[in-house]
């Protein structure tokens, strides 16, 4: 067989996607000449569903399309994979987070300019998934780069009422000053009125 079967491609795509795929997304994997009919793709998904009956995975139909997930009978064991604390964040991630905090709203390109190296998509993804950072808009220049800012969750996590509670840059530059003083690290029980509340 020269070109792999439709079923193999659909299976691999569903398992690799890491999230739900719509029929359209699956169809988009094929060039125009080789693109199968929608019904054929649907048939293949149904076939896979049957194949998976005695496997550790299953196909779930969710709003966003079809997703391969761990069969729930085995999920309790598999979930233990993530029991351990995730590894510590890399230096790069911390640098990028701190730049977003202090220079927001900021584009990826601006971060790269300051750091002198490319910003990894994974880091942005991690920060976004943790909901510490989000896209608040796009700069109206060619490419319309996303503008990143920190979130309320970020402030909460670090026990800050607002960004103003972060030490000023002048202090950060001076290593002595930074550690001689105690930073406001204790979580504010009164979490007071944060500025973000004003928003709503």
């Amino acid at each position: 067989m020269t070109s792999p079967s439709l079923k193999l491609i659909v299976e691999a795509a569903l398992i690799a996607a890491g999230g739900p795929l719509t029929l359209d997304q699956i169809l988009a994997l094929f060039s125009e000449e080789e693109r199968p009919k929608r019904d054929r793709v649907m048939d293949v998904i149904r076939e896979l569903e049957v194949d998976y009956v005695d496997r550790g995975i299953e196909i779930a139909e969710v709003a966003g399309g079809f997703r391969v997930q761990v069969r729930s009978q085995v999920a309790p064991w598999v979930a233990r994979l993530w029991d351990e604390k995730a590894p510590r964040y890399s230096r790069a991630l911390l640098e990028i987070l701190s730049l977003i905090a202090y220079r927001q709203p900021i584009t990826r390109g601006e971060i790269e300019e300051i750091r002198g190296v490319a910003v990894s998509t994974n880091i942005i993804k991690t920060l976004t998934e943790r909901e510490w950072v989000r896209v608040v808009g796009h700069r109206d220049v060619p490419g319309r780069p996303a503008l990143y800012a920190t979130t309320r969750k970020f402030l909460d996590y670090f026990g800050l009422r607002s960004l103003n509670d972060l030490p000023p840059l002048s202090e950060i530059r001076d290593p002595e000053a930074l550690f001689d003083r105690e930073l406001p690290l204790e979580p504010p029980e009164t979490s007071a009125r944060s500025i973000t509340e004003l928003e709503s």
Partner: protein
């Protein structure tokens, strides 16, 4: 030793170079290269050893038996041409030029007895380095050819149904964050220090908040951006944030006629919002 070696005329048939995938041009004997092409050309080399290897291979010569005089002449022509064109030339190229000149001069001298006993060919060190570099040049190509993640290999990643995983993301101490920032600033010091310090963080924070409020909403009454309960300082910060955002082309202010209400909106179509978060 086979100093007479390969006739130089051979090279005329050879293609000049393949620069970044495209056959570039043929190189006549006089080494003419258009100036802007030379820059590209120089970029295509990973240093003097790489350039030398290229010169040697172009003529189908054996590294073990390079005619130093000829190669030196060619190398010098390149270097001189680059200098003439005032291209930025890494110092390493000049060091190599000096080394070649020295080898060349030693090759011209009659070999003395003592040298023979030690078995030292003036070219020995250069040849050793060329061979060594060539191995790793090859190794880099082999490594690049290996199937690798993101390009040829894709790890699968099935989800776990909700409710089973309680993954604890790593803790971060605020100090770690500040130390990291200090690291970046120390490296980027030159061009951020002045601008950053003047801007207060509350302004930056407010910029984010203003954008957040305008997101996906089309035109909004300018006055609605302000929360008068915040008092004078708060209003001023919001005002400055709006100006700053307008200046950096993030916001658009519109007033249809004098004294009519001012409207403001994000300069982007709403359908484009949040597509960056959706990186799966």
């Amino acid at each position: 030793m086979a100093l007479e070696s390969t006739p130089m005329g051979l090279q005329q048939e050879m293609p000049f170079a393949v620069v970044q995938g495209a056959p570039f041009m043929t190189l006549p004997q006089d080494l003419y290269i258009p100036p802007d092409a030379l820059e590209v050309f120089l970029d295509a080399f990973e240093g003097p050893l790489d350039l030398l290897l290229y010169l040697i291979k172009r003529q189908n010569l054996d590294i073990l038996d390079i005619p130093v005089a000829a190669i030196t002449d060619q190398y010098m022509e390149y270097v001189e041409l680059m200098q003439e064109l005032r291209l930025e030339l890494a110092a390493e190229y000049l060091v190599m030029a000096a080394m070649l000149a020295e080898i060349k001069s030693r090759m011209l001298l009659p070999r003395t007895e003592s040298e023979d006993e030690e078995g030292t060919d003036p070219r020995a060190e250069l040849i050793r380095r060329l061979l060594e570099y060539e191995r790793f040049k090859q190794a880099a190509e082999d490594l690049d050819a290996l199937p690798r993640l993101e390009r040829d290999l894709f790890i699968v990643h099935a989800g776990v149904p909700p409710g089973f995983i309680q993954r604890q993301p790593p803790d971060v101490d605020l100090r770690e964050l500040l130390v990291a920032l200090r690291g970046v600033l120390a490296r980027a010091q030159l061009f951020t220090s002045h601008r950053v310090e003047k801007e207060s963080l509350s302004l930056r924070e407010r910029m984010s908040q203003v954008m957040e409020r305008l997101r996906g909403r089309g035109f909004v009454d300018f006055a609605a951006l302000f929360d008068f309960a915040e008092g004078r300082a708060g209003v001023v910060v919001t005002f400055l944030a709006t100006l700053e955002l307008t200046k950096s082309s993030v916001l658009e202010l519109v007033q249809s006629e004098p004294f009519s209400p001012i409207h403001v909106r994000l300069r982007e179509s709403n359908d484009q919002e949040s597509d960056d978060i959706a990186v799966a």
